[in-house]
């Protein structure tokens, strides 16, 4: 039995028939072909599935797709505007904050949700923001440096 759901993803309106048991992560990856958002654990433990829903960073693997009805979703594919990268994306490249890249989309979205609310966070605030995004490669230092760098360029 499928159910109709309507929401906005990366500025585009979508209307879909979905399995009501599906998570937002399932639908983004499988029905919308937005595979940038990653499935690391399907249990809300790792943060790789982080997207922004109505301005808030959420774990899409724990979010029933029906909860997205009528909402605005931003995924990693929606960060760059046409050919221009988001300052966070520029900063991640600049600072060497990307290694295997699997945690990167989730990190970017958590960081964007922070900077949209708080354009000049402290280092501690950045750490708390990404405390739910696990990374096994970087040790977090360059990711924090990148988010701090991006906060300086978004301020301008």
């Amino acid at each position: 039995m499928e159910v109709r759901v309507d929401f906005r993803v990366n500025g585009q309106d979508v209307g879909l028939d979905v399995n009501p048991m599906a998570t937002l992560l399932d639908v983004l990856r499988e029905q919308l072909d937005l595979t940038g958002t990653k499935r690391g654990c399907d249990a809300g433990d790792c943060g790789a599935c982080t997207v922004i829903m109505n301005g808030k960073a959420i774990l899409s693997c724990l979010t029933p797709v029906l909860q997205a009805d009528g909402k605005k979703i931003i995924t990693v594919e929606g960060l760059a505007q046409e050919d221009k990268l988001h300052p966070l994306q520029e900063a991640f490249i600049e600072c060497g904050a990307v290694q295997c890249g699997f945690c990167t989309p989730g990190m970017l979205l958590s960081a964007k949700a922070l900077l949209d609310q708080n354009p000049s966070p402290t280092q501690e605030e950045v750490k708390v923001t990404i405390s739910g995004n696990l990374c096994r490669c970087t040790g977090y230092k360059k990711i924090i440096d990148a988010i701090m760098l991006a906060s300086k360029s978004t301020k301008k």
Partner: protein, 753 residues
């Protein structure tokens, strides 16, 4: 140098920050089927009967396969013969939780999951062997046909009895390290597809595409040229994606159904069914003079390799070779045992046996220092290996041995930190500084592990590099581009690197032993040199000079001591006009001497990396809770091809080491994993890392490395846990010989004092 040594941006960063990088689960094909694996819930049992009839009848199921459906070889194993002891699908017996028995391909994930539940297996439970010491005795069942003690590496140098007799002080200790989980963020995934001419292509995350090709060819009974393995963007590996996981299963299902088949593990399946770090039990005895000179080291190392060999004996060999630590010890007796149990399979995990033994050798040095009233760094300096030293395997060290430099740099910083602690107020929180040192031999231990490469200099001066080296996040693609660009007089952006696609790239060793910069990098460099020399040869002929007078400068080929010069593009065009192509091939294999089976004598590596870490911790004496306040790493890397990349590896290594020291322990009870999720097996978050992290390198050229480089991936993570454990002891006098140093263990140790 123009490119090597520069902070070039990673060539794969853009695709990763835009979400365009394709990991295996991102791949989709028309008519793709979804696979699922039926795994044993029991760690040790005979399989009496497998009934797949109900599963096969389920609508949407396209294949249900068991061991009898395997057309070729039924067993795999990382080290190859004679260690291929792991069934692709278990036939008569299961030997660990998670052992695969049947595989299903269906139209959807949901149908595949339903079908697995319909496969009926009748087991006859056997007593599991889960106690490592008991596993060595004759009183427990055999996991395989032979004895459970499946490997014994011996290192013998001098005479330890005489050494201990001469010693003024003897320190003994027993250390136990736990199961650890790699916890890469990307769970295993892959897709396999047959074409209509009998060729199969497998896209999957892996550290070793050439080994995957070989195993699929053996299992399907195909010749190697008919199997293509394309490595997908891999979301971390750390040694845990070196073994076969999804690869043979999807190949079998694609082979049987004729359709593309995708298999993706969920997190618990990834933790439960794939390999782990070997738990070690180490008994260590050190003898020294009262001046602190090491005279003798004797150690017994027992490693739990679990149900199958995988890399088992290689891990224990590496641990045995490095057991003394980076120190001169004239009398050495090491016995390292690899033991089968029904526990999770032990294989490579960042450090490959050295993190475990480093916990022991560094704690021993600290205990020795305390006994003799010496500074822990002083005693290490006094015994540190240097050019002219001989290792415990009798290898003469001739170059790029910078353990002393790492210790000297650490000593300066340690003094500042300790001074600050003296000035700080006393409370129920105590602070302490600890040090850890290590050495790590680059490349596989005494056996061949070559890499090949092709390089082509194109008409416009840009270049292609083809290498079998698997990028697993550590940055090898970028390093290879830099090495080729440097040799070819161009920028890294002008070099396209295609790696780890066996349909296109030549053989390369698996990514491991921190050896890709050194080995794959050398192969790329040699190939680039041939391409360059072909170009130079024609230019030299045209200029009437010898080839050795030519060099690249700013887009041109110049002649030493002459005004003659030609733009690179024009020189290439000149070659083309004569029908000459600027191509090169290269291969490199470290020239090692394998270990003598009785004495361990040999030269197992052609170069070693050294490192020292410092840690400052703060321990709450009321709760045992420990915060790491500062971490500093001093690493001897030969040459940093890309400093940003090296820093990233060092900082990441510190986080893994911190996890090992304070929180990482996979709980395994009677061979069953009790903590299979990331909510239960905790790895460091951003909150666990200190703000004060500094990483530094020492660059003393390794002559046999590309532009002098050695390796850093594993050295980055090895000294950290010993340093943190040492810092805890300095803070509260609690010695944790069985990491992780959880708050409960620290509190208990404080209370025991």
């Amino acid at each position: 140098m123009n490119v090597v040594g520069k902070r070039i941006k990673r060539i794969d960063a853009l695709e990763k920050v835009t979400g365009k990088a394709l990991f295996a689960d991102d791949l989709k094909f028309d008519n793709m089927l979804y696979a699922k694996v039926l795994r044993s819930p029991l760690p040790h049992a005979k399989i009496k009967k497998v009934d797949i009839s109900l599963a096969k009848e389920l609508r949407g199921v396209r294949a249900v396969l068991t061991a009898r459906d395997i057309p070729g070889e039924k067993n795999i194993g990382y080290l190859g013969d004679p260690f291929r002891d792991q069934p692709v699908l278990a036939d008569d017996k299961v030997r660990c939780e998670g052992d695969p028995i049947a595989i299903v391909a269906a139209d959807s994930k949901e149908i595949a999951e339903e079908a697995i539940k319909l496969v009926q297996v009748e087991y006859e439970e056997l007593q599991p062997v889960f106690d490592l010491i008991k596993a060595m005795s004759k009183d427990v069942p055999r996991v395989h046909e032979g004895a459970n003690v499946v490997g014994h590496r011996k290192i013998r140098r001098g005479g330890v009895e005489a050494g201990f007799a001469e010693a003024d002080v003897i320190i003994e200790g027993t250390y136990k390290t736990p199961f650890q989980e790699h916890a890469y963020l990307e769970p295993e995934a892959g897709v396999a597809r047959m074409d209509n001419t009998g060729n199969i292509t497998v896209w999957a995350c892996t550290q070793f595409p050439c080994m995957v090709r070989e195993d699929i060819a053996r299992v399907l009974r195909l010749s190697l040229n008919k199997v293509r393995v394309i490595h997908t963007t891999t979301g971390g590996a750390f040694g845990g994606k070196a073994d076969i996981s999804v690869h043979c299963h999807i190949a079998l299902l694609a082979f049987k159904t004729g359709k593309p088949v995708k298999l993706v593990y969920n997190r618990s399946e990834s933790v439960t069914s794939t390999t782990k770090r070997h738990p070690f039990i180490i008994k260590y005895k050190t003898g020294a003079t009262r001046e602190g000179k090491l005279l003798a080291v004797e150690a017994e190392i027992i490693g739990d390799t679990g149900a199958y060999m995988s890399c088992g004996v290689a891990v224990l060999s590496r641990a045995a070779i490095h057991a003394t630590g980076p120190y001169n010890v004239p009398n050495v007796k090491i016995d390292a045992y690899t033991v089968y149990t029904n526990n999770p399979i032990g294989s490579g995990m960042r450090g490959f046996g050295i993190p475990q033994i480093a916990i022991a050798h560094e704690a021993q040095m600290d205990k020795l220092a305390e006994e003799l009233g010496m500074d822990p760094i002083e005693i290490r300096l006094k015994n540190a290996l240097e050019v002219g030293s001989r290792t415990a395997t009798g290898q003469f060290l001739t170059h790029s041995i910078c353990i002393k430099e790492t210790l000297e740099q650490a000593q300066k910083v340690a003094r500042e930190w300790q001074y600050d602690i003296l000035k700080s107020e006393k409370s129920n929180k105590r602070r302490g500084v600890g040090v850890g040192s290590m050495w790590y031999g680059i490349g596989s231990t005494g056996y061949p592990n070559p890499a090949g490469a092709f390089v082509e200099l194109l008409d416009d001066g840009s270049a292609m590099v083809l290498s079998g080296c698997a990028e697993i996040g550590q940055g090898s693609d970028t390093v290879l581009a830099q090495i080729a660009a440097e040799e070819l007089g161009t920028d890294a952006e002008k070099v396209t690197v295609i790696t780890a696609d066996t349909g296109v790239t030549p053989w390369a060793r698996g990514t491991g032993a921190s050896g890709q910069t050194y080995i794959a990098g050398n192969a790329v460099r040699l190939a680039a040199i041939i391409a360059k020399e072909t170009l130079f040869q024609q230019t030299a002929t045209d200029f009437g000079v010898t080839k050795d007078k030519l060099y690249f400068d700013d887009g041109a080929i110049c002649v030493m001591g002459s005004e003659q010069k030609i733009l690179i593009i024009k020189a290439i065009k000149r070659c083309r006009s004569l029908g000459i192509l600027t191509l090169g091939h290269g291969s490199f294999n470290p020239d090692t001497i394998p270990l003598d089976p009785q004495t361990g004598e040999g030269s197992p590596y052609t170069t070693y990396s050294f490192a020292t870490d410092l840690a400052e911790v703060e321990v709450d004496t009321k709760t045992g809770e420990t915060k790491v306040l500062k971490l500093a790493a001093f690493n001897d890397v030969g040459k940093a091809i890309n400093l940003t990349g090296v820093e990233g590896q060092l900082e990441g290594g510190l986080s893994l080491g911190l996890g090992c020291a304070l929180m990482e322990e996979l709980i395994v009870d009677k061979s069953i994993i009790k903590t299979p999720t990331l909510a239960q097996y905790l790895i460091p978050t951003a909150m666990d890392m200190p703000e004060d992290i500094s990483v530094g390198i020492i660059e003393e050229v390794e002559p046999s490395g590309p532009f002098g480089a050695k390796g850093v991936g594993e050295p980055a993570s090895i000294p950290t846990a010993p340093a943190i454990l040492g810092a805890i002891y300095a803070a509260v006098g609690a010695r944790i010989n069985e990491p992780p140093a959880t708050s409960e263990r620290i509190l208990a140790a404080i209370q025991r004092k």
